[in-house]
């Protein structure tokens, strides 16, 4: 088990800046996920920790030791690559024994160790095969096995599930989680799939264009995203954003666009008035409940209806934006209909329209 610290790490290729000012701690035994869109520098960060790349500025520490100049093999890290990087000319057994041979383990110790890992991952029957004779899921297990045999201090995983089909991915996700609970090894996991990040992680670090946006537990990131980018990236459907202007009338302060209006508590209102300008209200689809009732906040036309089985998504036209809300699966709403929607005020986020930064979440009144 090990603890990792990135201090103000930057990486440039010539003119191009890939990472800048990345500061991040990974605690012992923690499962930390690096999340971000393609090309944001996730693999790069992982490679910096592994020692496959050296930072152009800042430093990487493992267990408090600066890692500059320390070769990958001396860092006690194991890595699972996105393409698995199984050695095509070696059988599964040889692939698994490769890291053990590097440390000159005795042949019998190697055999025992591999037998144990193979059993745990249910690949015992595959040991004599070449990687090209394996299915994607089997390859993934072998790659995992090759990382496991080494008893590393840190597991680095670069999108290990991205080449699997959807069903297998969900199954392996649970298996990874179980594995981590069993081993309690520090784990840095890279993905661009927010669902994986949410389900697996102790904490998530969201990256964008090489800049760290937010680090926090899945709950923190989901409920209090620091900016519109994070808010839009997290959650399976992303967040609805409505650009609103501030309106004050005797009944209170509102953020309004077209027929949409969000009442702002007095404590928040004061700050918004001071700040001035436009604001963006962020609402997750599950906080826009479609249906008739006493406390309808909004009425709008239905544009699209998406039936998901467990529920139905309704796209509403509000001014020049589309607001996605949810209705029960058995709803009879059809496109063109004029419907009411109930908004969970307490869960709305308010962002600065100028820079996308979070100004307030309605609940805490800060």
């Amino acid at each position: 088990m090990a603890q990792i610290e990135l201090r103000n790490v930057g990486l440039r290729y010539g003119e191009q800046t890939v990472l800048s000012g990345l500061t991040l701690n990974v605690e012992e035994g923690e499962f930390l996920t690096l999340l971000g869109p393609s090309g944001c520098g996730k693999s790069t960060t992982l490679n910096l920790i592994a020692g496959l790349l050296e930072p152009t500025s800042g430093e990487v520490l493992i267990d408090g030791r600066p890692m500059a100049g320390v070769a990958p093999r001396d860092r006690r890290v194991a890595m699972v690559f996105q393409d698995y990087a199984l050695y095509p000319h070696m059988t599964v057994y040889e692939n698994l024994s490769f890291p053990l041979r590097a440390i000159k383990l005795s042949e019998s110790a190697i055999r025992d160790k591999i037998a144990g890992v193979a059993q745990a991952l249910a690949i015992t029957a595959l040991l004599e095969r070449l990687p090209k004779a394996l299915s994607g899921g089997q390859r993934q297990r072998v790659a995992l096995g090759r990382a496991l045999v080494r008893d590393p201090g840190v597991f680095l995983m670069d999108e290990p599930l991205s080449n699997l089909d959807a069903r297998l991915r969900v199954a392996m996700r649970a298996e990874l989680k179980r594995l981590h609970q069993q081993l309690c090894t520090t784990m840095v996991y890279v993905t661009h799939d927010q669902a994986e990040a949410m389900t697996l992680s102790d904490r998530i670090a969201v990256l964008r264009d090489g800049v760290l946006q937010q680090v926090g537990t899945p709950r923190e990131i989901y409920q209090r995203p620091v900016n519109q980018f994070v808010a839009g990236f997290i959650g399976s459907l992303g967040m609805n954003f409505l650009t609103c202007h501030l309106e004050q009338d005797p009944t209170g302060t509102f953020l309004r666009q077209d027929t949409f209006a969000l009442r702002v508590p007095a404590s928040v209102a004061q700050r918004l008035v001071q700040q001035g300008g436009d604001f963006v209200v962020g609402l997750r689809p599950e906080h826009v409940v479609i249906g008739e009732g006493v406390d309808v906040d909004l009425r709008a036309n239905v544009e699209v209806v998406e039936y998901l089985g467990s529920e139905t998504l309704i796209h509403l036209r509000v001014g020049d934006t589309v607001l996605v809300g949810k209705a029960p699966a058995e709803t009879l709403i059809v496109p063109g209909q004029h419907v009411g929607a109930c908004i969970a005020h307490a869960s709305a986020c308010i962002f600065d329209a100028a820079n996308g930064g979070l100004l307030a979440t309605d609940t805490d009144g800060t």
Binding site: A50, G51, L52, R73, M79, F81, D83, A85
Partner: protein, 279 residues
């Protein structure tokens, strides 16, 4: 319908006939030498000549095998193998550097390689000879191996580099994480996966070293250091032209390359042309 068919048929037959004719013509000179090598002396100097010997004999081959030619063949093999080893060793490391690293001066290096490959062999003949003489390297395997390796290294760097680049870089990275050094990863993972490239390179180098003449002629003079091609040339002057024996020697000298060619035609063609296609 019948007309299109017959037009196509005529075109097909013409193509076939022309190709067959050319193929035969291209082989004729070699076949003629082969035929000659199997004729007894009297028949060789008969006019008009016979394409099918009236009497087959292996006497010419026996005579060649009792001459110095076998020794020249051994010399050629030693030099060819030495050149293959040295060239591949140097070129695979350089190729790995070029395929896996970005470094200052990389383009200059590649340009120099290309330029030196294009440098005329004849133009460096005189200075190479004089330098080898000064260093006391004339009549050694070493000088031939060095000079041949130099001529082949650029080509083989390009050739091998293509194969190295087809091995995903994540494999080296995986090996480095699995506990190996950069070079360890190269030797244990990347090289085994580039075997076809090494084979193609070895063939190219072998054919070159086996067939090269002018450097071998100038850099060696002692009889026991002579290479096969030089030996063939001297066969003419040494014994007067014994066409029968010479023909047998020529055939024997073609055999190793021909065997390689028949067995590994694909790599052969790939290796010998790819130098021209890489930039």
């Amino acid at each position: 319908m019948t007309i299109t068919f017959s037009v196509r048929w005529v075109k097909y037959s013409l193509t076939f006939l022309v190709l067959a004719g050319v193929a035969i013509l291209m082989l004729t000179p070699v076949v003629w030498i082969l035929v000659t090598s199997l004729k007894p002396e009297a028949e060789i100097y008969r006019f008009p000549p016979q394409w099918i010997p009236l009497q087959f004999t292996l006497d010419n081959y026996k005579a060649v095998l009792q001459s110095s030619m076998p020794m020249y063949f051994v010399n050629s093999i030693v030099v060819a193998v030495g050149t293959i080893v040295l060239t591949l060793f140097i070129a695979m490391h350089a190729g790995y550097a070029v395929s896996r690293f970005q470094f200052r001066g990389k383009n200059v290096f590649l340009f120099l390689l290309m330029a030196s490959h294009m440098m005329p062999g004849v133009a460096s003949l005189v200075p190479t000879y004089l330098l080898a003489g000064k260093l006391g390297l004339l009549d050694t395997y070493a000088v031939l191996i060095l000079v041949y390796s130099m001529w082949q290294t650029p080509l083989v760097v390009w050739l091998i580099q293509g194969f190295l680049e087809s091995v995903p870089a994540t494999l080296d990275q995986a090996a480095m994480i699995d506990g190996y050094s950069r070079l360890g990863a190269f030797y244990r993972v990347v090289l085994p996966l580039s075997k076809p490239g090494l084979a193609a390179s070895a063939i190219v180098v072998f054919v070159y070293a086996w067939n090269e003449f002018i450097m071998a002629l100038t850099l060696t003079s002692a009889d026991n250091m002579r290479l096969a091609q030089v030996g063939l040339k001297y066969y003419i002057s040494q014994y007067g032209i014994q066409w029968g024996e010479l023909a047998a020697a020529v055939i024997l000298s073609i055999v190793p390359v021909l065997i390689l060619f028949v067995l590994l035609q694909r790599w052969f063609v790939y290796g010998l042309t790819s130098g021209a296609l890489k930039g």
